[in-house]
Amino acid sequence: MKRTLGVTALACAGLLAATACSGSDSGGGSSSGPVTVTVMTWESAETNAAIKKALADFKDDNITVQLLDTPSGQYGDKLASLTQAKKLPDLFWCGNDTEQQYTSQGLLVDWADKIKDGDGDFKSDNFVSSAMDNWKTADGQMGGLPSLMNTYGVWYNADAFTAAGLPLPKAGWTWDEMYADAAKLANKNGAKYGLVADQLTSPDGPFTMSMYAVSAGGAPFTDNVNHPTKAEADDKYTEGVQKLVAAIKNGSVAPPGYDASNVQSLFAAGKVPMTFGGQWLAAGFQTDKPKVKYGFAPFPQVQTPTTLYDSVGICTPQYTKDQDSTFKVLSYINTKVWDAVLPASPVAPPAYKPAQASYFDALTKAQQSTVADTVKADLGAEKTVGVRFTTQWAQQVGDLTTANYQPILSGKKPVSDLPAYIEKINGLIKQGG
């Protein structure tokens, strides 16, 4: 070992300028003098351009804001490599699960105190409260702040519904109605399936299925996605699975394994009559201009409206150079940047409530009123379920789901195998502590 290290040191010194072999940088704390705050997003080139423009208006003599380019297609790989190299930008887009896991590793700056008191309007009371709760770790830390809310629902092709003589989906419709519609829409006009529901059939599927159980008065798949104590599949949950299995079997719902990566374009081309999806598709449709009339409805229900949502946010590594400056930029992004970006590209409602107006205005202006209504309904829904575990062993749950849950959906295993799958998840929960 010693020898190899010597060899590399030699190669490093010999082959290259000494600057390349510079030592590690010191981090943390605050410093005086001008600082550069770096920002990295997973947005598209267009959205990034809008963000860059908005950031240019940030005025502070000591702070320069720099937006880093990154190939958004591989944001995950990029983030993993930056994390390992301890070179995370001062502010980077992150999911709730990233925030939870990284915070538990002590990687992120804890903003909990700063945001609680907050100066001016920028304080926790002004954020969507469920998002704030989800971003807190078990011991009350916040490794980042939620920025945008993701709500989910059903995108439908209104033309296809009209042609088939079906009423358009709207708040309060039921799961049975949805499956019945899907059966009627399947195999018509170039559409293979009536409904593509990646959220139900992907490795996150078991969590989405909670909506059915909770809406019917049953228990969700897990009590808490951040700090679970158990997973369960009660009678109502099993009933929901059975209905989905039947719908997949008769060909009205796309089976697990369906590649959903182009589903948005296929929907826009009129070849997928119904698809589960996030509100963010609206922004894409606004530029792509689908040939069909479409709408966005809340998820179906059994008895009470139930929905699924999560939030994305912005995190800061604990080795950021100047916490105060970084926080200034962070608050600028949350309070000002969305107002500039969302009108052109209404991606998602901000978690910072005062900034939500510009999102809904943009949707109304673009005549996407069904989207605005559904997002508002979702944000106001009382019963919500998490989309996936955010724990460190979440990856292993994904494998278990692929091995045990998806075969149930595609009919390769009986629904009676469900308890065995749940038991394995509970085993992981117990092990993970």
Binding site: W42, A45, S72, A85, S265, L266, L281, G284
Partner: protein, 307 residues
């Protein structure tokens, strides 16, 4: 005993001058044979080239036309601007230059060090020669992923993260064992009397290597250069993992920017395919220019253990 490479070169040389002149004894079966050969040839060419032609048509389509159903083989309207706007979107000239520098350096380093090692293993007598040959050949079997995790941390700890060094330096350290193997095989086929003659003239190993051996082994190092060029130009995972600043990216990483699954964006397939075409050009040109030597150089593999 014949040296296999002689035959290889003989045929390779004649292969260049095509028209078949064989005794026209049995004309009819020959005609059938010729016809069926061309039918198969057309089929092979079609399989290889139709996907690429289709790529060009996607590159010419407008963004949403890509998803028309049923798909149209030819674009409805020809969007030539994709070939301008696509490259512009990723700062093509800059990334192209980066790719060129990284590739040129790693080709040079990879070929040079492999030739040096091959020369020593094939033509010099030294203790440990067998051992080193086995070690080099054996390392061909090592899955590349073994290195990914430890090397990433090594580079990071010596400050090479976000530099081109992890992409270039390994080449200068005999990065590709297959090349060493190929070089050794090729050197083995060269008669020793040549070195002896040079030695009588008072040449040292360095001079023999540079002014005698390098010219003699042109097919071998051209072959390696082509392979090394392809490998480096197409490498995606390493630059993605090691390069952080977008100003340092090679083209392969820049290409990925088109295919964004986030935030409600349809991947820009038409920009992607249009830019792809430009990205593919350099390896294509190099291959066409040097393909004659390429097959000759690989001939050395054919002589593996007939000696």
């Amino acid at each position: 005993m014949t040296l296999p490479t002689e035959a290889a070169e003989a045929t390779a040389l004649t292969a260049g001058t095509e028209p078949a002149t064989r005794a026209p004894a049995r004309k009819k079966p020959r005609l059938i044979g010729t016809t069926s050969w061309y039918v198969v040839a057309i089929f092979i060419c079609a399989v290889m080239i139709v996907p690429l032609l289709w790529m060009i048509t996607i590159g010419l389509k407008s963004r949403t036309a890509v998803f028309d159903i049923p798909p149209k083989l030819l674009p409805h309207e020809w969007t030539w601007s994709n070939f301008v706007n696509g490259p512009k979107a990723i700062h093509f000239p800059r990334l192209f230059l980066n790719s060129m520098i990284i590739t040129a350096l790693s080709v040079f380093g990879g070929v040079l060090t492999a030739m040096m090692a091959g020369y020593a293993l094939a033509r010099l007598r030294f203790p440990g020669r067998k051992l080193w040959f086995y070690l080099f050949v054996g390392s061909m079997l090592l899955p590349g992923v073994v290195g990914l995790i430890p090397l990433f941390q090594l580079y990071k700890s010596i400050g090479w993260y976000d530099t081109w060094l992890p992409l270039i330096v390994p080449a200068f350290l005999g990065g590709n064992p297959l090349f060493i193997f190929l070089a050794r095989q090729y050197f083995l086929a060269i008669p020793y009397s040549i070195d002896e003659a040079a030695k009588i003239d008072g040449a040292g190993h360095l001079r023999i290597f540079v002014s005698v051996m390098l010219p003699l082994t042109r097919p071998a190092w051209l072959t390696m250069a082509i392979l090394a060029f392809q490998a480096s130009w197409n490498d995606y995972l390493n630059p993605l993992v090691y390069l952080y600043s977008s100003g340092k990216w090679p083209l392969s990483v820049g290409m990925a920017a088109f295919v964004s699954p986030f935030a409600g964006k349809t991947p820009d397939w038409s920009y992607y395919m249009a830019t792809n075409l430009l990205y593919m050009l350099p390896p294509l040109i190099i291959f066409f220019a040097a393909q004659r030597y390429f097959i000759q150089g690989l001939g050395a593999l054919g002589s593996t253990n007939q000696k």
